[in-house]
């Protein structure tokens, strides 16, 4: 069995375990390549049957239009039902407060919207496309990650995972985050996309757009990003390595216009993909802090 067959088989196994062990599971969809691959695997896991759980998108309101168009097409293609919940609604209801300052990010706010949605639908397991190679704090994450009633992750209180046995038993109020592609690396994801010919949003491929450079991060022009003093818009050939909130997802200068180009670019690259996300750079333990609060 080669690496891809093995990774695919393991992810499918995990997704099926979730469908079997939980009463109301949901799969999170962000429009990013990882969640696209995860949804693709969900389709395979139950083929020729339908995916037996809904997909859910937590829309920060700061998404690129390309992502939203892609999302709706993709859900139709894989035959999944979609739930959308908006960070804007949480703001309007006074559940959260928009960050102040020149570069407000809604990344932290989506945690509240997510937890509210989990409560609203009584989801007992939410699958996400996080990978262990993304960041040091994630290297210890479990496939089945138990969260308390506040959605908090306690690194000291995670269940050991042996062989292929995943313990999804929960007490009232607890829910699980499950990460079927934990063992994939960024390169694995891209190689798999190539191998399976999975269509992607156009943002991932090189295109010309207006950008601004801020603290070594390239931000795309959108209504959500305001110029700071001394900054100006410029045109550049860029692509995105991750797709999230437009206020903090950095682009990279690239001429890679096909998946094949991207695979080669990644293989030669010297910066990790999260290295271009502004929110991880705030402190050395940034990810760990957010995870403890219930971030995905």
């Amino acid at each position: 069995m080669n690496t891809f067959e093995w990774l695919e088989s393991q992810a499918i196994y995990v997704i099926r375990e979730v469908a079997a062990q939980f009463e109301r599971p949901v799969m999170l969809f962000s429009g990013g390549k990882d969640s696209i691959v995860m949804a693709w695997l969900a389709r395979k896991a139950f083929y020729p049957g339908k995916i037996p759980f809904p997909m859910m998108h937590i829309d920060t309101g700061h998404n690129f239009q390309e992502t939203l168009d892609y999302r709706d097409r993709w859900m139709k293609e894989i035959g999944a039902s979609l739930i959308v919940r908006h960070v804007q609604d949480s703001i309007d209801q006074g559940r959260v407060k928009e960050e102040e300052g020149p570069n407000p990010s809604r990344n932290a706010l989506q945690t509240v919207t997510l937890l509210d949605a989990i409560k609203e639908f009584q989801f007992d397991a939410a699958m996400g496309g996080a990978r262990r190679d993304e960041e040091k704090a994630r290297a210890k994450e479990r496939f089945f990650s138990v969260r308390d009633r506040f959605g908090q992750w306690d690194p000291k209180n995670q269940r050991p995972e042996l062989w292929h046995l995943f313990n999804g038993m929960k007490r009232p109020g607890e829910h699980f985050r499950v990460f079927p592609i934990s063992n994939w690396t960024e390169l694995d994801v891209w190689q798999y996309i190539h191998r399976e010919e999975i269509p992607l949003p156009s943002l991932y491929f090189s295109h010309e757009r207006e950008i601004v450079r801020r603290d070594d991060v390239i931000l795309a022009r959108s209504s959500h990003v305001a110029l700071q003093e001394g900054e100006q818009w410029e045109r550049a050939r860029v692509r995105f390595r991750t797709i999230g909130d437009a206020t903090c997802t950095g682009a990279t200068e690239s001429a890679a216009s096909s998946v094949e180009d991207i695979v080669n670019e990644i293989a030669a690259t010297r910066v990790t993909e999260r290295g271009s996300r502004a929110d991880d750079r705030r402190s050395e333990a940034a990810m760990e802090d957010r995870k403890k609060q219930g971030y995905f």
Binding site: M1, Y47, K140, E260, A285
Partner: protein, 641 residues
């Protein structure tokens, strides 16, 4: 560059265990660094962190120590998974701390590993924790173990020191169940033999560590023989399609093959196999697949589909090693837990803790509880029959976890040794192709006598015992056995002798001398000896029994200390000269085929209880040695004086 997209690499999962002092994190950091797996931003962060700590050189260990608590205490407290790949392979490292209090983490990391890297500090040699790593690797049945003798720079790269450690470790590992053991002298700090060989150890002609990991042929911890398909989920999109989704724990399956569904024992055929959206002819171990069957059978999650002529063990009772993982409560005799095994979850009762194993020495201690990080052997009864294989044979169907029924935490990891109904297993082996009928007859149970062995022993005033004399033809086994039998009889012991030639006249007259027939011969004799033992006898068996596996099989039938293996050692030339039955002469003329010592091997016992050199001692001396030993074992030390 373009071939990158199509590169079909395979995968190696390995585990590393060690303390900060071993230089384990440095070794991993070094492999990532020298093989250019560290990104610029990670390197920058590393330099910043090292500088903050006042270190001049970049501390490669910081690369792998993830959580803040760990960075502060500078220890690794959990299992961290690392990924890297070379053009040849993708690697997944389960990186675990080595201290005794983290035994559970080592067990977790080891459960999915194909290979274990054990680090030694060349200055300190083999510490209790090195032994613990090896014992856990053996217990978790990791197929390959490589010992990295690190810090060679601190012993001036001396070959002699390396050789000394290799010898010492090899001697220790012989007691364990490690099938493939290798050694590499390295310096993680200086980079010798990690990615490049370097020129400081010209006396070492093996591969450097990374090359070794790339090249080793991994006889995966996978069993490719026994098809086991635990049903995970039923897919039923419409009336005409009823698919059973699952992942092959082991073995392979093809369309058209005859299968049996457990526990219902219905037989049917595989109609189709689907992997993702593709229909295929064959599926193999570790693949997630969907099977459809020729007949409509009621099957649900937790059932198992197997090949009709290759069934797993089916039993509620089993005997297992358990590693206890809970901080809050200990495992107690009489405890009740939830058990998760393949896709089944049921209740389980701990009948008995047979002993606790010291993970540093293998020493057995009797106990009624297992605390955090302790490993013991337990006997359990589950609320439903489990479909399992011994863990040594099949890690996927032999491993289970225990779950606390009130907190739902995973509190224990278990490795099944075997079913406690050894008799049933026996019946099944004999039935071969017609195993099904035997299995349906699970109501065949061992009829419990009203007289216990203890009572018989008390009446006889000596313990029952099995003496097993093994050795070449002509080594003197039968002569010694006859004399020992006579002497014990005259001392008033209940004694009976089973002899190789005699059993072949009746009990085993249908058998020849092929490998299978020899195995069956020894198995029957073993059971006959066990019956005599149960009757309270001192049983003396004298058989060539050339294969270690067969002798070990017999040994396993008896309780500890009740089986005494006596190696009757004699040089083959001396045996040939004696040749009491003229058999060697015949074998050398080619008139007898497969004669032990001539054209069939004799596997010497590794750890016999007694060795008798009959070339050096006369008959009476050897008989006296056996008698002294027997009287001590039977509790008759004083009787003879």
């Amino acid at each position: 560059m373009t071939q990158l997209v199509d590169k079909e690499r395979d995968l190696l999962r390995f585990t590393t265990a060690g303390s900060v002092d071993d230089g384990k994190s440095t070794l991993i950091g070094r492999m990532l660094y020298d093989s250019k797996q560290i990104f610029q931003d990670q390197m920058d962060a590393l330099e910043r962190a090292s500088k903050l700590r006042g270190e001049e050189e970049v501390d490669l260990a910081l690369l792998t120590d993830g959580l803040r608590a760990e960075r502060e205490q500078r220890i690794t407290i959990d299992v961290a998974y690392r990924y890297f790949s070379t053009p040849k392979r993708k690697f997944i490292i389960a990186d675990t701390p080595g201290h005794e209090q983290y035994t559970r983490n080592m067990v977790t990391g080891a459960s999915t590993a194909d290979l274990a890297v054990i680090l030694l500090d060349a200055r300190k040699g083999i510490l209790p924790q090195s032994r613990r790593h090896a014992i856990i690797a053996s217990l978790l049945a990791i197929p390959h173990v490589v010992v990295a003798v690190n810090k060679m720079d601190l012993v001036d790269y001396q070959e002699a020191r390396y050789r000394e450690l290799v010898e010492e470790f090899t001697a220790f590992a012989e007691k364990l169940n490690i099938h493939d053991l290798s050694f590499i002298p390295i310096s993680a700090l200086c980079g010798d033999n990690v990615v490049e060989s370097g020129d400081r150890m010209p006396w070492y002609d093996g591969w450097p560590m990374l090359h070794f990991l790339e090249e080793i042929t991994v006889t995966r911890a996978r069993n490719l023989v026994d098809f086991r398909f635990p049903v995970q989920y039923v897919i039923r999109p419409h009336q005409d399609f009823r698919g059973f989704a699952g992942r092959l724990s082991s073995g392979t399956i093809r369309v058209g093959e005859q299968v049996t569904v457990l526990p219902s024992l219905f037989h049917t055929k595989v109609r189709s196999i689907h992997v993702g959206d593709q229909e295929v002819n064959e599926a193999f171990a570790q693949q997630s697949a969907v099977l459809t069957l020729a007949d409509e059978i009621d099957i649900s999650r937790g059932d198992m589909i197997v090949r009709s002529h290759n069934l797993p063990e089916i039993d509620q009772e089993f005997d297992a090693y358990v590693c206890w993982m809970d901080e809050a409560n200990a495992l107690n005799t009489g405890g009740d837990y939830l058990l998760q095994h393949t896709t089944r979850t049921c209740q389980v009762h701990v009948n008995e803790i047979l002993y606790r194993m010291d993970v540093n020495t293998l020493h057995r201690e009797s106990t009624t509880r297992l605390g955090l990080n302790e490993i013991g052997r337990v006997r359990c009864t589950a609320s439903q029959a489990l479909f399992f294989d011994p863990y040594d044979r099949n890690r996927e169907t032999g491993g289970f976890i225990l779950i606390d029924p009130s907190t739902f935490r995973t509190v224990g990891a278990g490795m099944i040794r075997y079913t406690t109904k050894e008799t049933l297993r026996e019946l099944r082996r004999e039935q071969g192709e017609t195993q099904i009928e035997t299995i349906t007859a699970t109501n065949i149970t061992w009829d419990q006598s009203l007289i216990s062995l203890r009572e018989r022993e008390a009446q006889n005033r000596h313990k029952a015992l099995c003496l097993w004399l093994t050795g070449l033809s002509g080594s003197g086994k039968s002569t010694i056995a006859r004399c020992v039998e006579r002497a014990l009889f005259e001392d008033g012991l209940q004694v009976f002798r089973l002899d190789g030639d005699n059993v072949r006249h009746g009990l085993c007259s249908d058998l020849g001398f092929s490998r299978e027939d020899r195995m069956t011969n020894i198995r029957r004799i073993g059971h006959a000896a066990k019956l005599l033992y149960d009757a309270g006898q001192v049983v003396i068996c004298s058989f060539i029994a050339p294969y270690k596996e067969d002798r070990d099989f017999v040994r396993a039938l008896f309780p500890d200390n009740a089986f005494v293996e006596i190696y009757v050692q004699c040089d083959i030339e001396v045996c040939k000269a004696r040749d009491p039955k003229g058999l060697y002469a015949k074998a050398e003329r080619g008139e007898i085929k497969g004669f032990t010592g001539v054209d069939d091997p004799y596997e010497e016992p590794a750890h016999p209880e007694l060795v008798l050199d009959t070339a050096g001692l006369d008959v009476q001396e050897t008989v006296d040695r056996v008698l002294r030993f027997v009287k001590r074992q039977c509790g008759l030390d004083n009787a003879s004086t």
